[in-house]
Symmetry: C2
Subunit: 140 residues, 2 copies
């Protein structure tokens, strides 16, 4: 399989925090960011907030309850960098291409993400320790 | 102190790897990236490579010898996400503003970075576990 027809585009950088309001305040005061979208995903036990910088967005993620992936990450590592998400034109094609290259997908079929996207995560082991997400913006 | 006059712009995402050639190959095959700059900083014991994505660049960092910050990161955490770098217009003004907000700077004066930049790192503890870098592109 060859490389993608066009390079992946960094969509956002995921950052896990314990207190999402405090983190929103910190990034506003230091980096001048503003919140463009905020959402509680109750079924996944996570609250997320997207912050506009002058370029690539940041996604803050905070656990809403224990025993969720984000709560476990926070308990194990403390707050910090969590994942990088890339925007692609055709997520299913890219997932198939990654599998053909030997990458291990966490999500074997795309699932709904924030803001009308469909998303899939790839195992960090397939990207030298970087939890990697793909997203496709679907027509609403 | 108020927020910056314009939001910081994400310049690159730093990723620590053990084998920089293998990682360059992986990102080329999966994400379609290309190397735009590669450099060995012998005094800091690190080799770095900047990869163009369709958006924000990635910076791969690999240790050239033991007992350096990148080698210690790799030994402690394994490969993975390392830092986020933001481009600012006036790094000295932003460093002073951060100090006034209580942030702890690792570099108290800017130092030369790659590609004609001056850079400074801020303690992860001041950004909820995210090692944060500022860079200013200086006129050559």
């Amino acid at each position: 399989m060859t490389a993608p027809s066009s390079p992946w585009i960094v969509d956002h950088i995921g950052i896990v925090v314990a207190d999402i309001d405090a983190a929103i305040g910190l990034y506003a005061a230091t980096a001048g960011t503003s919140v463009t979208h905020r959402e509680k995903l109750l079924d996944r036990g996570v609250e997320l907030a997207f912050l506009n910088t002058g370029g690539t967005r940041l996604e803050l993620l905070a656990p809403l309850k224990d025993d969720t992936p984000i709560a476990r990450f926070l308990a194990k590592h403390g707050p910090g960098l969590h994942h990088v998400c890339y925007k692609v034109d055709n997520i299913r094609a890219e997932m198939a291409r990654l599998e053909s290259l030997g990458a291990q997908l966490i999500d074997t079929t795309p699932r709904p993400g924030a803001s009308g996207t469909i998303i899939a995560f790839i195992q960090p082991a397939s990207f030298y320790g970087v939890l990697t997400e793909l997203c496709e913006y679907t027509a609403s």
